[in-house]
Amino acid sequence: MKQKQLVDSPYEKKGDIIVQNKSRRKFFTQAAGLASIAAFAAACDKDDNNMSGAVDLGTGDFGILNYAYALEQLEAAFYTQVVATPYSGMNAVETSFMTDIRDHEIAHREFFKAALGTMAIKALEVDFSTITFTSRDSVLATAKAFEDLGVTAYNGAGYLIKDANYLLLAGKIVSVEARHAALIRELIAANSFLGDSVDSNSVNLSRTPDEVLAIAGTYIKTKINASNLPKG
C-alpha cells in the first residue's frame, strides 16, 4: 500500500499539468518513467490482495491473461452447474452441447491457470443467485450473455497484448467462444446467430476490461482490481 500511495499521488497531481504546460516529448518521457515505476509497484504488491481484499489481475500481458482466466472461471463454473442441475426439458442434444461447452470452458480455465503458473490469480467465488438453473429461458439467457460478453472481452483486449504468442492463444479461444455464442443464440431463436452481437458493418462488438468486469461483476463475489491492466 505504501508503494502505491507514493507512486499514485504524484502521477495524478502532475498528470494534467504536464499535459498542459510541457512539450509532448517531455510528457511522454516522464509518463513512461512513471508507468514503469507504477508497473514495478503493482508487481510488488500483487500478492497482497490489497484494495480491501480485491484480487489484483496484475500488469502487462500477465494481467490480460489473468483477466481472461477470471472470465473463463466464471464460464466454467456456470456450465458445470448447468450440466449438474439440468433445466427442465433439457433434451439429449442440448445436454451434449452443454457438456461440450462445459468441457471447453474447463479446458480454457485450466489452460490459463497452468500457463500463468505463480502469476495466476486465485480461484474466484461466483454468485449465481440471479440465475434460475431449473429454467431453460434463464439458463440460455445467461449463457448468451456470458458467451457474447466473452467474445467482446477478448476482442477488446487483443490490442493490449504485447506478445504475439499470447495474442494467438487468445485468438484460438475467442473463435470458440463465438461458436458457443452462435449456438446458444440459435437454441434461443433461429437465425439469431449474429443479432445484436455485431455492428452495422457486421463486425463483432468489443468491450474494454472495465466495461466487461462491470457486467461480469454481478456474477463474481470476489472483488477484482483491474486498475493495473495495460490501458493501451
Binding site: 499535459v19 476482442n155 487483443g158 490490442y159 492463444l169 484460438k172 452462435a182 437465425n191 457486421s202 462488438l205
Partner: protein
C-alpha cells in the same frame, strides 16, 4: 470500437488531438457525438487517414498487407454466397434466410475493409472477375446440390476463421486494425457455427457440432488440408500445456473436447494454396 473512446484515449496523451485533426474542435466533437450508433459505424471512415495525416505517419505496410489479404478472402466469400443464394437449391424459409444473412454479412465485410484500407491510405485490391466455385472440379455440384453447397460453405467459414487467426500477430498492438480484424474473425466463427448447426438440423450431417471436432470433421476428404497445416485442428498442445492432461468432470478432458476448445491458425501461404483452386489469389 467507439471512436469517441479512441479520441478520448488519444486526448489523454495529446491534449491537442482535436486541433490536429481539425481546427474546428467543436464541430469535430459534435460530429462524433451524433448519436452512438452513427459514431460506432463511423470509425473506419477515414479515421486511419485522419490520424495519419494529423501525426504525419503512414500505416505500416504489413498492416495494409493483412487488410488486403482479408479483403481478398471476403470478396470470394461474398460471391460464393451471392451466387449460391441465387443458384443453389436452398429450401425457402429459415435456411434461405440464414444463407442470405451470411451473404449480407460478407458483403458488409467487403465494404468495411474497403473503407478501412482506403482510410489507411491504400487502394483496396480489386475482386477477381471470375471464380471457380467447383475448385477445379472438386465440387462439381456446388451450386446444384444443397448438401454440397453447405458442406463447402462450412469448409470456407472454418478456413476463414483460421486465416484471420493466422495473421493477427501482424497487427499486434494496432488498436483500430487489430480490433477490426478480431471483430470480423469472431463473425466468421459465428457463421461457421451456424452452417455446421444447419447441416446437423437438416440431416445432411446428423452428428455435426458447431465446433471443430478432432480435425477434418466435414466428411469431405478433399478438405483435409483446410483442417491440417503447420498447427492442425487436431492439436492438443497449447503453449506446452497438454489439454488432454487436464482434469475435467469425471475424467480428463477428452481429445474431442481438447481439439474443439481451441481453433487453430493457418499461415497466409497455407490459405492461399487452399483457395487457389477457386481462382482466388
Amino acid at each position: 470500437m467507439n471512436i469517441i473512446t479512441i479520441l478520448e484515449d488519444i486526448e489523454k496523451v495529446d491534449g491537442e488531438v482535436y486541433e490536429r485533426l481539425s481546427p474546428r474542435r467543436k464541430a469535430m466533437k459534435e460530429f462524433f457525438s451524433f448519436g452512438s450508433k452513427a459514431a460506432l459505424t463511423a470509425i473506419p471512415l477515414g479515421l486511419g487517414a485522419m490520424l495519419n495525416k494529423a501525426y504525419g505517419q503512414t500505416v505500416p505496410a504489413g498492416v495494409i498487407n493483412v487488410l488486403q489479404y482479408a479483403l481478398t478472402l471476403e470478396h470470394f466469400e461474398y460471391r460464393f454466397y451471392e451466387r449460391g443464394a441465387t443458384l443453389a437449391p436452398i429450401p425457402a424459409g429459415a435456411e434461405k434466410t440464414a444463407i442470405e444473412a451470411i451473404r449480407d454479412s460478407e458483403k458488409k465485410h467487403v465494404d468495411f475493409l474497403k473503407l478501412v484500407i482506403t482510410g489507411a491510405g491504400a487502394t483496396p485490391v480489386a475482386e477477381k472477375a471470375n471464380y471457380d466455385f467447383t475448385a477445379m472440379g472438386t465440387f462439381p455440384t456446388v451450386f446444384t446440390s444443397y448438401a454440397t453447397f453447405l458442406a463447402v460453405a462450412q469448409v470456407l467459414e472454418d478456413t476463414g476463421v483460421r486465416a484471420y487467426k493466422g495473421r493477427a500477430g501482424e497487427l499486434l498492438g494496432q488498436k483500430v486494425y487489430l480490433t477490426a480484424a478480431l471483430g470480423i474473425h469472431a463473425v466468421e466463427a459465428r457463421h461457421a457455427a451456424k452452417i455446421r448447426y444447419m447441416r446437423r438440423l437438416n440431416g445432411q450431417a446428423p452428428t455435426m457440432k458447431p465446433w471443430i471436432t478432432g480435425g477434418n470433421d466435414t466428411g469431405i476428404a478433399a478438405a483435409n488440408g483446410n483442417y491440417g497445416g503447420t498447427i492442425p485442428e487436431s492439436n492438443v498442445n497449447q503453449a506446452g500445456v497438454i489439454i488432454t492432461n487436464i482434469a475435467g468432470v469425471g475424467g480428463n478432458i477428452s481429445v474431442n473436447a481438447a481439439t474443439e476448445a481451441f481453433d487453430e491458425p493457418l499461415t497466409a501461404a497455407e490459405v492461399l494454396a487452399l483457395v487457389a483452386p477457386f481462382g482466388v489469389s
